[in-house]
Subunit: 142 residues, 2 copies
DNA sequence: TGACACCCTGAAGCTACTATAGGGTCAACA
DNA sequence: TGTTGACCCTATAGTAGCTTCAGGGTGTCA
């Protein structure tokens, strides 16, 4: 099958397919005499796997690890579970961060109930009065 | 004050300061004869405001809107509240998305309790069996 | 005079793609 | 036979919000 069919089978665009090939997630397929990419069912499975991982918000790096593990049938799946558990932990952590953020935003929002001049807007004052802290870099991609 | 002092006052790097200038969030300051940037207290306030907004996970676009509103003291703060409320809504929505994701990941995780060969790993099978859906693009930056 | 901390510009790198430009291939139809 | 249209190709640049790097200049102290 050609790249357009493959893309449709995995519900993504042809650009994404070519991108995954360039990134080494999808192996380069055979070519027709006219230099068109030619794919088989193995490619469909692999691409769908990648897209499903992305739908679960995994990073390219996590997917790369999963694929490498899946490619070695001799292995046990302990390492797979580990990658998965780490991903779940990332999601949990991001939820906690956002819940905290929501609290902070809510209490700032309550400082401006009525419409007033911007100079005396409680929200703008609340922002200005925050303690500037060095930005803690995110350890997740979510 | 020079760029290094300004950066320290707002707990960010000098590169970030120069970046904000290039993006138009921070107005270009005067220069010394040696072409060094020279800042005053107004710059400190504005930079701290920007960094505090970023600490609240606002996008550059949201910050740009807030600054434009704050720069017009004649205005009422209704528009400010609107930007803020929209941001809160973004956070809420992202939390809901991640909660859903967490549910999905949890039920997949339960399909592989014991260590086994990767071929029969419940997690890998669960991923492979997912319905590939076209990716819905995120309407928030979070 | 040298060492060192600080400043300057411009360009490239990060993630996961998307979009664009400028071209080639192939089957069908007039 | 020519041409239209759907598809394919490569290479490059753009997105957000910075960070890092290369290759220089400036200012102060010993």
């Amino acid at each position: 099958m050609k790249i357009g069919e493959l893309a449709q089978a995995a519900q993504c665009t042809v650009e994404t397919v070519r991108y995954y090939e360039k990134e080494g997630l999808l192996p380069p397929p055979a070519r027709t005499p006219a230099n068109f990419r030619q794919y088989g069912t193995g490619h469909v499975e692999r691409l769908r796997f990648i897209r499903n991982c992305r739908a679960l918000d995994m990073s390219q790096e996590e997917i790369r690890r999963l694929l490498a593990l899946a490619d070695q049938p001799a292995l046990g799946c302990g390492a797979v579970n580990e990658v998965f558990d780490q991903h779940i932990a990332h999601v949990d952590e991001r939820i906690r961060e956002l819940e905290q953020l929501k609290q902070a935003l809510g209490s700032m929002r309550r400082r401006c109930q009525s419409e007033q001049a911007v100079d005396s807007c409680g929200i703008l004052h609340a922002i200005a009065e925050m303690e500037s802290e060095p930005r803690h870099d995110r350890h997740t991609h979510l």
